[in-house]
Symmetry: D2
Subunit: 333 residues, 4 copies
């Protein structure tokens, strides 16, 4: 298999390294308009064939294109690649508009090509372990999902903090709460420094009584990456800043009691043991590359498909509309 990577910026070297290391990849091409990025990659990865023209790369005998450019270029570059008959890997968020995402999905379906959206957290040992726990029924039904992803982050020029940070957590939510349908979204926040919001508080309503909330923030003095998952049986905390005990499962919870007297407590809580399962430390990107290539070989959708990318973009779009209207509730079709 031969692959071409367009966009060799911050994330580019990681993509190059992982595709080079994949046993089925025999050739990696790289493309970037900036000469200094070409030089940098050339010095680090002499095996990569580099160029500045995207059409030139598409003309090569490549099977797949990896798109790692700014978001607004995802759609035109992806469309061109699909039309040239290439499978595509697109960094998160999939596209800047849901209509674009849908169009790409349609083209890929028509041409029987694969779309892989790089929701990279889905391939981490931690999220895979949490998914196992949820699917096994150990947590019970999910009552809420709460996520905080805040730090002193680099302001983006083209998008607000929602488009920058929330895709991670939304993709994790969709993965873990598979089968739950998002029906409405509201987002509050503030743009303290210029026209893009640096703080956002996103609430997500589901068709059952579940609820999710996301706090994303570029202006926190401390770095927090913490997720709570409430279940009818157990509760779980995922703290990605912990080096060793990332996941803690609490045998604690809330129990409904039927009582004869309405004056007595109807809800009781119990505190129990805690268990922290070992998390496998394999690099997520390597597992993502493996899944992408397997999906191509096997002619099937990858674990993080265009559809998954679209689902996240829909919530981002709704959040954007909501935050610009002081938290107006936006229904999700």
């Amino acid at each position: 298999m031969k692959v071409g990577i367009i966009g060799l910026g911050y994330w580019g070297p990681n993509l190059v390294r992982n595709f080079l290391a994949h046993p089925e990849v025999e050739k990696v091409y790289g493309c970037d308009k900036k000469e200094d990025r070409i030089k940098f990659i050339a010095s680090r990865f002499p095996a990569v064939e580099l160029m500045t023209d995207y059409d030139e790369m598409l003309a090569k005998d490549i099977d797949a294109v990896i798109i790692a450019t700014p978001v607004d270029l995802h759609y035109p570059l992806a469309k061109k690649a699909l039309e040239a008959g290439k499978h595509i890997w697109v960094e998160k968020p999939f596209t800047a508009k849901s209509a674009h995402a849908q169009e790409l999905i349609d083209i890929a379906a028509e041409k029987n090509l694969r779309i892989f959206v790089d929701h990279t957290f889905i391939y981490t040992g931690a999220v895979k372990k949490i998914k196992e726990l949820v699917d096994s029924g150990e947590i019970g039904d999910i009552t809420y999902f709460d996520s905080v992803r805040i730090n002193l982050g680099l302001f983006q020029h083209d998008v607000n903090v929602i488009w920058d940070l929330a895709p991670h957590d939304l993709s994790i939510m969709n993965y873990l709460l598979e089968g739950h349908k998002v029906v409405a979204v509201a987002a509050h926040g503030v743009a303290s420094y210029y026209d893009h919001e640096n703080i956002a508080q996103i609430s997500v309503y589901f068709d059952n009584n579940s609820f999710a909330h996301f706090h994303v923030n570029w202006t926190s003095p401390v770095k927090i990456r913490k997720m709570l998952l409430g279940g009818t049986k157990k509760m779980l905390v995922f703290d990605d800043m912990e080096n060793f005990e990332k996941i803690k499962v609490y045998d604690s919870g809330i129990e409904m009691k039927t009582t004869e007297s309405i004056h007595e407590a109807l809800v009781q809580y119990r505190i129990g043991d805690m268990h922290s399962p070992k998390v496998v430390a394999t690099e997520a990107l390597a597992l993502g590359a493996k899944e992408f290539i397997a999906s191509i070989n096997e002619g099937r959708e990858p674990l993080t498909s265009g559809k998954d990318g679209l689902d996240v973009v829909k919530i981002l779009e709704a959040s954007e509309e909501s935050i610009k209207n002081r938290g107006k509730l936006i229904e999700i079709a």
Copy 2:
């Protein structure tokens, strides 16, 4: 000075102990309808004169009444006390309705009586220290206030999690952001177990560009009491679960840069030193009692007055209306 305490439940012994210990208090009366509470207080505090009838206590030669009953009784008991010419101390939240709070304030004003609302955090060493830092200008202008107060809490029968937990954080916000005017509130959340919400996410908009957010939750497996304060000069974290380093002030922040080219970064961040000031550990309730009695003696408003209680109740009321309407934005008059 002589005081009478009505409501000798969970919080009652602390009130009894602190008023007994106040050097200007010569006599403490106690009142509760429940015989077992009367017995309990009698065994622990033999100096307190106890009774089960509120009118009987009001008829005593007392200067002030301390009200520590369920919220819905605050208004009728407070009104009766004021009409009997007594100063009042009311536990948080001040009242269940803002109209009631206003009425009590009016009566007290007419009769020249003091209302003290027990926003107890205002009297902690930590919040006093933060107030000092804010007032000194060290933090700069406040850009945001973010608070998380979650744990596996006892469900209340009469109110939801907003009325139970948010008064603490709202009173701290109003104290620290003195001069900032709240203009609108929205609250999202869920009632997972019965008709009262156990999770709430409250967003508060101000008349300037400041923003505040509150996460209160009775169904978290872990206990978090953390507040972030963003300023134009410094940023502050108040972690009330820390035993020793409750306040951390970060000499880190966001700087606006004017650049010639619009393509260049306009916002930059810097990371600097951190400083954790020593926090004095005096019991907040003792300082509250001291302030209440001083305000009576000096004929002035206490630090946490009826007006402060009303301001908090207004936001609670708006949050309640909003959460029942999926986050509808509620303007604050």
Copy 3:
């Protein structure tokens, strides 16, 4: 049952409160030479009959004497009580000399009286849970015990940091490693400020290959109360500064592998899950009082007997001799 407490200082009120609360204790007497302590206890606990003369208290119709004075008075007061036919409760450390401890044990045996030494940690939920885990075999054979108990502590006038802090950890060690025999002790440290050592590092050798170490320190800027327990099957951490997850059991460890080649690794390690059992929060002192009275009623040795007190004093004595001689190894008979 009637009890008399001698020494009403720092720890006195806790003893008074817990014995008053014990259902089988019908009368509590208290004794202290200092009038201000007598007054303080009188105001807080009006039910206690107080006096300043120890002989007067011994002459009362009491069953047991609780001794909570400075260490050097333990022996004479305890001896007098035993000779007067009273059971005794002695605060830690049991005595200042092992010969005194042995003498008290002998008197008690002859008169069939109970000696309870207040190794209070043995009655905490955490230590009881750890004992359960050790006794169940889940940890395997204990390979090492490591304890750190350091903070900015009050310097004692009469003893060094070893006598002040180490009794806690030594009593826990002896309890958990029941059956392991201490054979030698060495202690290093320094007296930075006056003639009593403020830092001590104590090493304990056993008759099998186990090893224990204790770091006690009055001059640490941070408070650490952490114990590690290495086992052949699992490893355990007890962090007493944690509010919620005091005990963590690690399914991690060291495995010996027999290999064909001597050049290959003989020792391998594995990393596994972690489990944090719920710890019951009952006050240790209440459980200690219960055990003391039960041992009297049942005519049997209490869980923390004179023998346990003696075992700790022997190690303290050896540590003292060692630290005065730059860590000279002291054999324990």
Copy 4:
């Protein structure tokens, strides 16, 4: 400048990368007996010229030799390099015997060559910042140094845990306590699994009243890298497991009070603010390489010289002798 690296194992790639990146290094040679290491380095760093024979590398026109082999080879390889007129960089610990270290120092002196011992922590932002604080007098006189470096570590085949882990902390101690003279050492510990000790507790006595202690351990379920520094003015904690607040300086301490009455407290403690200075994050190895080359160019001793390496080896040697004799006190000449 041209350099040759002997030993391309675990640490080799880091050395190769950093010397390749140094602007004054024009050529890097690499040498290892193992073909697979040669292949690995060749694929990652095509610019390096590789070989399996050390003499062949020494015969090249190189200025300096970097020695990153097992400890027992340091001495013969270093001697050969010095005799061939090359400057040397030796990984820690410098040598397995202090006599060997002295001999290498003498040869280098005679031939006017530089010896750099890679005490890499000396070049970290954290240790440099602590050194600044100590040298500025802010901490006052150092009363004690306490270090814990424990984790579930790989057992070494040739040395015990002292030789593996303690060189880091001993080099930091010597750097920070410059001017303090070590006079005696004692080490206790245990070999739980085979003939090399996996736990060691090392006490170090100075010619003034300072004291240092080191706990190194390959068999701890948790990873701790914590250093306490007690001073007469302030106290400092260095926690290398913290991502952001590695250094905390406590304005807390111990004060001697002269009192008229001998019954009054002579020692008092105060608790004050805490300050956490920003730590620069430059890679230590890059700064080490820079210092090595600067010392060659300027004909002066590097910051971590052969003398520094010898001082550490002396304490390691004494610790080894002591631990084999149950903590016998070993004087340091």
